[in-house]
Symmetry: C6
């Protein structure tokens, strides 16, 4: 059985929406590379590389568009 | 005859929508490189590279925008 | 006279929409590099490179957003 | 005086819309590197590189989203 | 307790919306690499590299789409 | 005091909207690397590189989506 990790796109605040966007960005990485040891090993490489950090931030930005739209921009 | 693999963009939950987004992202790879042996050979290269994983995650993010809109954000 | 290759964005099914998105992604490549011999020569390079395949998949994802919206997500 | 090159985003057909998207993608290149000699010199580099062609195709895809929306997807 | 940094996507002007987009782009970097010393160390690398600057600008562009939509384009 | 540079996303024509998109793309570069001498130094690097020009064009494309939507596609 698959663990439930995304019951809804709704959040109470924009900030929680941003945190959900980060979770969504990381989830695909975890599903593509399920081994936590390898992910841990890769972490210093990208966390210490400016372009890798920008890249990670970009994926969050794309998901944040989705989450913000799902919450009607928290109007 | 082409196999049917995408009858609908509708899913019951956001999580199933995310899984569909992953499928959509992988499908174009399979259609561009149809040889499963070569894809298997390429897998370690990107599954062990931080930027390649972020890149894969980005394509999922773009498809997830589409799937989420198709499901009216599971409202 | 230019050949007609894109009479409509409407498709009967999501899957045909996905195939149209692939066609849209490839068309710009063909218009930028019209020589089929050179394109054939380039093919092994990207079809055997994980990031190139992800990149190609990303362009399909962007076009699929357009095609899906044009078909009102096949509602 | 600046030459008029973009009077409207409306086109008669999706295909003309795609051609407008290509024009929009190339225009920013021309405005950033106005020297036609240098652009001509750069052309073989990217026209013979698979990833550069995919990249160019991606910018067309983003503009095609805009043009398609402007034309209400040629409904 | 997490510090509140994103109470709303609403801004008074497009320019403040752009500044918020920059903040959103940088936030994911800060959350992925929380050590301010390392971020400071990385700064010269990307601030003196043309493509890294373009990349940073792209993430801002994606967030600006979200912020602009949230503000109904400041109509 | 911050200089006002973005009073509105409204423009009279699509072409002026495109010029605004270029301004929006460049602004983030200027805010990330405020030293005009360094930016001038970096200019030849990207203005003579095909992929850097495509990249710059892509950021313009993303902003043009926003500006076009803000102007209701100049309908």
């Amino acid at each position: 059985m698959t663990e439930e990790w995304l019951p809804t796109l709704k959040t109470d605040t924009p900030q929680e929406g941003y945190e959900l966007a980060m979770k969504l960005a990381r989830k695909a990485v975890g599903l593509t590379q399920p081994d936590p040891e390898i992910r841990k090993m890769l972490r210093p490489t990208y966390a210490n590389n400016a372009d890798s950090l920008t890249f990670a931030s970009q994926v969050v930005a794309i998901h944040f568009q989705t989450v913000a739209a799902a919450n009607n921009y928290w109007n």
